[in-house]
């Protein structure tokens, strides 16, 4: 980091004097929390940027694959924890679903849609991070809906099995519910995107100096990729999980 960049960063942080000043006069106890949040934010961002800087500097496909494996494992862990499930039982299928789902969509976007060098870290890191972030958020909704629906409606699974449906066929009503849990908020949000909400990604692309037309194309690609990656990852995760649970569920039904 050169001196100029440091100075500009400090000038940016100086803006926080305004809210901090107001808090000092009007709500002094809040000032400590405000300070802690700012410091945490700076540290987290610095660590993240340091990792990305390292990935760009080394520019190795193997390191990028390692990055993808690491974020898939971390995201899988977050999903399992958020869904309050056993790490031992679900972390592997969830991480595998996220890894395969996000990788397939990322390769499609990078290789065919944008198209750029697939293992160019400038593209690979943000694209995989965005897809993984979105798929993780949606997986929490979809997987928790799936598991809690199976628990609440266990009788329905047994009824369908008892009437001759195969294991995966009997799971179809529950898969439908988890798909709806993912698709419904997506539909609600996408219809207002750009009208009542200005996506931060678009702002970021425009700030990066890309023309509005190219920004539009990038946004369309990323939105389509995010929606597809979330649905694909969820389906793959549930499939992997059910394969591992197949025998247990068959005898317990």
């Amino acid at each position: 980091m050169n001196t100029g960049l440091l100075l500009h960063t400090l000038l940016g942080l100086l803006l926080l004097v305004i809210p901090a000043g107001l808090l000092y006069f009007l709500e002094r106890p809040m000032l400590k929390n405000f300070g802690i949040a700012i410091v945490r934010m700076i540290i987290q961002l610095a660590v993240l940027c340091l990792v990305v800087w390292g990935l760009i500097r080394v520019d190795s496909p193997w390191l990028l694959i390692l990055w993808l494996l690491a974020i898939a494992a971390y995201s899988g862990w977050i999903v399992v924890k958020r869904c309050k499930q056993e790490v031992k039982k679900l972390m592997l299928p969830v991480s595998a679903g996220l890894l395969i789902g996000v990788s397939l969509i990322a390769f499609w976007l990078l290789g065919l849609v944008f198209p750029v060098r697939i293992f160019d870290p400038h593209w690979f890191v943000p694209v995989t991070a965005l897809l993984m972030g979105h798929a993780t958020a949606m997986m929490i909704r979809g997987l928790s809906t799936y598991l809690s629906a199976l628990q609440a409606d266990e009788q329905q699974y047994e009824f369908l099995r008892g009437n001759g449906l195969a294991h995966f066929k009997a799971l179809q009503p529950f898969l439908r519910r988890s798909l709806l849990a993912v698709i419904s908020p997506t539909v609600a949000n996408l219809s207002v995107l750009g009208l009542t909400s200005m996506p931060l990604l678009l702002v970021g692309i425009l700030l990066g100096g890309i023309s509005p037309l190219h920004a539009f194309l990038l946004m369309i690609g990323m939105i389509a990729g995010c929606v597809s990656a979330s649905v694909l990852s969820m389906a793959l995760s549930i499939f992997c999980y059910e394969l591992s649970q197949r025998h247990i569920r068959q005898t317990a039904a």
């Binding site: 909704r141 809690s148 009824f159 001759g164 996506p199």
Partner: protein, 200 residues
């Protein structure tokens, strides 16, 4: 035809019945009865291959039924479970959740909370009968009907209608097997098996 020969059925290490033999013939209504906890539901689940027999065997039309082969046999069965009143979502699939756009952000959103699905409201006696009727009538080619306490949540009038429906299945030459304690059904069965006589 469903046959059980010298079967010992256990659950959770506890033997419920021992040395049980039964032949449920085509064109007959066979009722399984017994006191509460005598193992009626467990027995039916064993006949459907959800649970293994500890000793003896179960066969369908002379073919041995095991846990592994059970799925193929279940395609021949119509099943009305004991908790049929809990099958509201089988009668009407739940609708898509209503979402506001601000509940969700495509970019830089905080992670959502886990969703907790609730049990559906229990079905009314009329809806239970509707589901039972639909399940039976939609599978005219299945030769075996297994009903676990089918009249438990029905009014006497609906119980009568259900019996009529089951009788029609019997007349069509199907094997009808019912677990019940209702005298209204027991008195009209072709064969009654009391599990209490096989208890340990």
């Amino acid at each position: 035809m469903l046959e059980v020969k010298d079967a010992t059925i256990s659950i959770g290490g506890k033997t419920l019945v021992k040395g049980l033999s039964l032949i449920a013939r085509d064109g007959q209504i066979t009722c399984i009865t017994g006191s509460e906890g005598s193992g009626k539901t467990t027995f039916l689940r064993t006949l459907m291959g959800f649970l293994p027999v500890e000793a003896g065997f179960v066969s369908v039309d002379g073919e041995l039924l095991t846990i592994d082969s059970a799925h193929a046999f279940r395609t021949l069965m119509i099943y009305l479970p004991q908790e049929i009143q809990a099958l509201a979502h089988q009668l009407k699939a739940p609708e898509a959740p209503v979402c506001e756009a601000d509940e969700y952000g495509v970019w830089n959103a905080t992670l959502p909370s886990a969703v907790k699905e609730q049990q559906p409201e229990p079905l009314s006696p009329e809806a239970i009968f509707q589901l039972a009727e639909k399940t039976i009538l939609e599978a005219p080619d299945k030769p075996i009907v297994i009903a676990d306490e089918p009249a438990a949540h029905l009014t006497p009038e609906l119980t009568e209608q259900l019996y009529e429906l089951l009788r029609q299945q019997k007349e069509a030459g199907k094997t009808v097997l019912i677990a019940t304690r209702k005298p209204q059904l027991l008195s009209r069965a072709d064969l009654v098996l009391n599990l209490d006589t096989f208890r340990q």
